[in-house]
């Protein structure tokens, strides 16, 4: 088990290998389909982003609302591949890592390799359990998107696997089956 903290600087990223079990502590930003679309629309229009992605970690997640007395509701990962067409642009801005579930496209893999980024896997469908690792949660952008708003989460020992490492090695390639 490897303990890492944000910001996810290049030296941390370079030391992670596909298949490593990691406990992440620090700040992560949620963003899923609608938020990715907005961020990339801004970039297309030549605007700068309303948040700094340098060495940041994006979590593909849309949590359930928090019950009174709790920090956050269930908060597991959503399917990463839906973000694939937006991802290379964000990686090129210095994004440190992404957290999601499932495989990524070849374009994303090569962007990861080129910029020494890291793609982490969180276990899907265990959002209640993962909510216990979140110490604070606050919407910082796109509040109107509801569950798809960008939340800033402070997490402690958030359990992850390295899915694609900074050299582009993919854990799914070693899983013993091939997607057609």
């Amino acid at each position: 088990m490897i303990n890492i903290t944000t910001p996810l600087t290049e030296d941390i990223r370079e030391n992670l290998k596909a298949g490593d079990e990691v406990l992440l502590t620090g700040t992560i930003l949620t963003a899923r389909d609608a938020a990715h679309k907005r961020l990339c629309d801004s970039l297309k229009k030549g605007k700068s982003l309303p948040l700094n992605l340098k060495n940041a970690v994006i979590y593909y997640c849309g949590p359930t609302p928090a019950r009174p007395g709790r920090t956050i509701g269930s908060c597991g990962p959503t399917t990463s591949s839906r973000m694939d067409s937006f991802t290379p642009a964000l990686i090129s801005l210095g994004l440190g890592g992404m957290i999601g579930k499932g495989g990524r496209s070849d374009e994303v893999k090569s962007a990861i390799k080129r910029h020494k980024c890291v793609y982490f896997l969180a276990t899907g469908g265990i959002g209640a359990l993962l909510s216990t690792k979140v110490k604070s949660a606050k919407v910082i952008l796109y509040n109107d998107l509801g569950p798809e708003a960008i939340y800033k989460l402070e997490v402690k020992d958030f359990p992850l696997l390295v899915g694609i490492d900074s050299k582009g090695r993919d854990l799914y390639d070693k899983a013993g089956w091939k997607k057609e």
Partner: protein, 279 residues
């Protein structure tokens, strides 16, 4: 003629939405525990252990099993000796809305597929109605996440197709879902009817306990063959390898046309949720 008011149905929908989202189905949990014992790869075992722990925590703390609390499908079986008073559609929508508010569940429904503004209520829901004999009403609620829904598929096979052609199609669907649909999966397979009816049958198949086999012998055999074939893919929990790619395969079938053999596969994740009640 028995009479029932829609307010009773609304309350039942709320109760069932909450139950389905907080309490993992007993048959699914049982299959997960059996899979945990069977897996030998440590990573697969650890994932299954976390899934089981998550179900226990969700039930205890009344937290959603998964943050994707779904688009709700409601299946009504209405007895032909039962009269329902009031606006049924409105009652179903309000029942969903109440549950998603009260239960702190995620509102995942947009008002228009292209304009995509969140309705903020998780309504509307999808409704299917069957008329049955008697004076009772059976309400079944199925909140289904879209990570798996996106991987569902239908194919109109030739009438001369064999069981092995059906197996090939199902394997194709499961391979294309890969790790994305949160395996170990539950598969609902609808065979026969029309294009639309096969899809509905596949959804209904997911509502049946995965411990229960099809009533017809040859479909029962096909369910077993499919389970074996899919698990031999070794996709495993979260697609990271292992013996458990599916927890269960249920088939529902219907007569069809001489020219066709529709086959629909509803892909569902390890958090396959539903709850039912007869009122």
């Amino acid at each position: 003629m028995r009479e029932i008011s829609v307010s009773k149905i609304r309350d039942t929908v709320t109760e069932l939405c909450l139950k389905a989202n907080f309490e993992l189905r007993r048959d699914v949990l049982k299959a997960l525990k059996a899979a945990f014992k069977k897996e030998t790869i440590l990573r697969a075992k650890n994932i299954l252990k976390a899934i089981i722990e998550n179900a226990q925590l969700a039930k205890k703390k009344r937290l959603a099993i998964c943050q994707d609390t779904g688009l709700v499908s409601i299946f009504l079986e209405i007895g032909n000796d039962l009269t329902i008073f009031g606006d049924l559609e409105e009652a179903l929508y309000r029942g969903v809305e109440d549950a998603y508010k009260k239960g702190y569940l995620r509102k995942s429904v947009v008002d228009d597929s292209l304009k995509r503004k969140n309705t903020n209520t998780n309504a509307p829901c999808i409704t299917h109605i069957d008329i049955i004999k008697g004076d009772k009403l059976k309400v079944t609620v199925s909140p289904k996440g879209f990570g798996s829904e996106n991987k569902s598929a239908i194919r109109m096979l030739r009438p001369t197709a064999s069981e092995s052609d059906i197996i090939d199609f199902v394997l194709e669907v499961v391979k294309s879902a890969g790790a994305d649909a949160c395996p170990p999966l539950v598969l609902g397979v609808g065979i026969g009817g029309t294009f639309d009816h096969a899809a509905l049958l596949s959804k209904k198949a997911l509502l049946r306990s995965i411990d229960t086999r099809n009533a017809k012998k040859h479909f029962r055999a096909l369910e077993k063959d499919l389970l074996k074939a899919v698990n031999s893919l070794k996709i495993g929990p979260m697609g990271l390898g292992g013996k458990t790619t599916v927890l269960g395969v249920n088939i529902e079938e219907f007569p069809t046309h001489i020219a066709g053999l529709p086959v629909a596969v509803s892909v569902s994740c390890h958090a396959t949720r539903s709850a039912e009640k007869i009122i």
